[in-house]
């Protein structure tokens, strides 16, 4: 396992995440795709820390912050989905089109 493996894994996850976020119909699916993108960043940070800059823990510490912040963000997102489900009875993006975008 070299740095390249980890970076490639991160890049693949990131692209899968972007693809999912752009094509998923369900809000929950979009949320999961966005989590993948955050995790791609975390893998990158940890790998760079381990292989390129082993003198500190800045990268790993940053990964912890990202996890925490992403969790907080998802909490708000799920609360929104719940509110929308109560008002609209559906959570598919194409049905949520009251505003003209």
């Amino acid at each position: 396992m070299t740095l390249a493996h980890y970076i490639a894994l991160g890049a693949v996850l990131f692209v899968i995440g972007i693809f999912g976020a752009l094509t998923r119909r369900s809000v929950i699916g979009i949320l999961m795709s966005i989590e993948l993108m955050f995790n791609a960043a975390n893998i990158n940070l940890a790998a760079f820390n381990r292989y390129l800059h082993p003198e500190g823990v800045a990268g790993q510490a940053f990964a912890l912050f990202i996890m925490t912040v992403a969790a907080a963000e998802v909490v708000v997102g799920l609360a929104l989905v719940l509110a929308i489900y109560r008002n609209w009875d559906k959570t598919y993006m194409e049905n949520i089109n009251l505003l003209k975008g």
Binding site: I7, G10, F14, G17, A21, V27, I30, L31, I34, M37, F38, A40, A41, N42, N44, L45, F48, N49, L52, H53, A58, G59, A61, F62, F65, I66, V69, A70, A72, E73, V76, G77, L80, V81, A83, I84, N87, W88, I96, N97, L98, L99, K100, G101
Partner: protein, 495 residues
């Protein structure tokens, strides 16, 4: 060097915001409006702490005296860098903090009289508003990607909730959901960019960072996506109209100024002081984005029939004007950013205050924010029509008003640094914007009122906000000298 005292205004505001939640539990139902007063008091305390760090320094009202920027301790110990290099409190950030706090005060005043936020929820609403203000204040001080990321998220998460605050209103739900998905997406892209930047430079600190190579450039571009989302720069602006239309109007007024200015301030620090845009060949890209932002915002604003959407697109264009200062990056451009931020808060929230006043009467079935509601306003309330006209003229940048001064500095700096194309685009855009601003004025003065339209009701809060905004718009338009000197003094970074 653990000088947390530098952040006293943020710490006090954050603690008081949480205190509001506690006070919310203690107050009986029906007395909750008092919490708005407490929130205003908290803003006032924080404003005083911020102002007392900025204002007594030498050179504020005597032009030309350079400020000796301290590197630690020293006579003006209130200014300096804190905890390693995570943040730096310098005149630039203090000025923007005051602007953010000012817009928070105005937004709170509007909320007091807006019927979409019930009084029983005053505590949690103003707590969220203050917490997002804390995030913006940290953001303009941040010199490290860690603090930038965390404070940007603090602003975002609080704003998502604020936009969706009307839980039972489907429009509010939808605006909030779109805002959330775009926001989470762009912060994930930003996090990935930060990881690449860290890989290339070995640190998340931006002070003395020497990013080189393709990976650092890619990281920086991804980081720009995060900023671009918050500041609604053109390709990342799609959430703006829907989020602004769905949100409760005081929140719209707040979001259209404060996060935008905070993100622009942080971007200005990033791209002029820390990693100069010229050193990464980003100037052309930035000026293209800047021109696109102005043009797109103004052209689409021409076709809007809802005052919130119209002001949403106009605020995209205004962000484009402010971005000119970042593209040029010279002293005059930075002054322009500060001056324009200051007056933009007054004129934009002022315009929203009038919109809230007009929509306060929701008895008729029509959309209260349709442009129709401005028809014949001059015959119903001449002062309201005149005030709205002044705000719109100032947004368009007509000379005797404050908006002109800011635009003058920004366009002047574009000409001074030989960005002639950008200056021409900005001037043409100002001309285009006059059309849609004036069409609202035309409705107010030369159209018959729609059936059943009433005299707008000005509550104390709206009245205070509109009067304050009008005073700033008029005073600094006619006497710009003091503001210009103040901005000249403040346009300094402490790297």
């Amino acid at each position: 060097m653990l000088n947390l005292a530098l952040l006293k205004s943020e710490i006090v505001l954050g603690a008081l915001a949480l205190g509001l939640l506690a006070a919310d539990l203690l107050l009986p139902e029906g007395r909750k409006r008092a919490l708005y007063g407490l929130a205003l008091l908290a803003c006032g305390i924080s404003l005083f702490l911020t102002g007392s760090a900025l204002l007594p320094a030498p050179g504020v009202f005597g032009a030309g005296v350079p400020l000796p920027l301290p590197t630690g301790g020293g006579p003006a110990a209130a200014l300096g860098a804190g905890v390693g290099t995570l943040w730096s409190v310098d005149p630039f950030s203090l000025f923007l903090k005051m602007v953010v706090l000012g817009s928070t005060v105005l937004a709170l005043l509007l909320t007091m009289d807006d019927s979409s936020i019930p009084d029983s929820e005053a505590g949690s609403f103003s707590c969220l508003l203050l917490l997002s203000a804390v995030g913006m204040m940290l953001l303009v001080s941040a010199t490290d990607l860690l603090l930038i990321f965390v404070s940007l998220e603090l602003v975002s998460i609080a704003s998502f909730i604020l936009v969706g605050y009307e839980r039972r209103n489907p429009k509010s739900n939808e605006g909030s959901l779109k805002y959330f998905i775009f926001g989470a997406f762009s912060s994930a892209v930003m996090a990935y960019g930060i990881s690449l930047f860290y890989g290339a430079t070995g640190a998340t600190s931006l002070v003395a960072a020497k990013p080189q190579g393709a990976m650092a450039l890619m990281g920086l571009l991804f980081i720009l996506v995060g900023f671009g989302f918050k500041a609604a720069i053109a390709p990342m602006h799609f959430w703006v109209p829907d989020a602004y239309e769905g949100a409760p109007t005081p929140v719209t007024a707040y979001l259209s100024v404060a996060p935008k200015l905070a993100a622009m301030g942080a971007l200005a620090r990033l791209l002029t002081a820390l990693v100069p845009a010229g050193s990464m060949d980003l100037t052309l890209l930035l000026s293209l984005l800047c021109g696109l932002t102005m043009t797109w915002g103004n052209l689409v604003a021409l076709f809007q029939r809802n005052i919130k959407r119209l002001l949403a697109y106009s605020s995209i264009a205004q962000a484009g004007y402010i971005m000119m200062g970042i593209v040029t990056g010279d002293a005059m451009g930075l002054q322009g950013i500060l001056i324009y931020s200051f007056v933009y808060v007054a004129m934009n929230i002022g315009a929203f205050a009038l919109a809230v006043a007009l929509a306060a009467d929701r008895s008729d079935a029509l959309d209260p924010y349709d442009l129709d509601s401005f028809d014949g306003l001059s015959s119903r309330s001449l002062p309201a029509a005149l005030a709205m006209t002044l705000f719109l003229l100032s947004l368009a940048g007509i000379p005797p008003l404050a908006g002109f001064i800011g635009k003058f500095y920004l366009i002047g700096s574009a000409v001074g640094t030989a960005h002639y194309g950008l200056a021409i685009v900005a001037v043409l855009n100002s001309v285009v914007s006059v059309y849609y601003y004036m069409s609202v004025c035309y409705r107010m003065f030369f159209t018959a009122p729609r059936k059943g339209a009433r005299v707008p009701r000005f509550g104390a809060g709206i009245y205070a906000a509109a009067a304050l905004a009008l005073a700033v718009t008029l005073f600094f338009g006619v006497f710009p000298h003091r503001l210009a000197v103040w901005a000249q003094f403040s346009a300094k970074f402490l790297p």
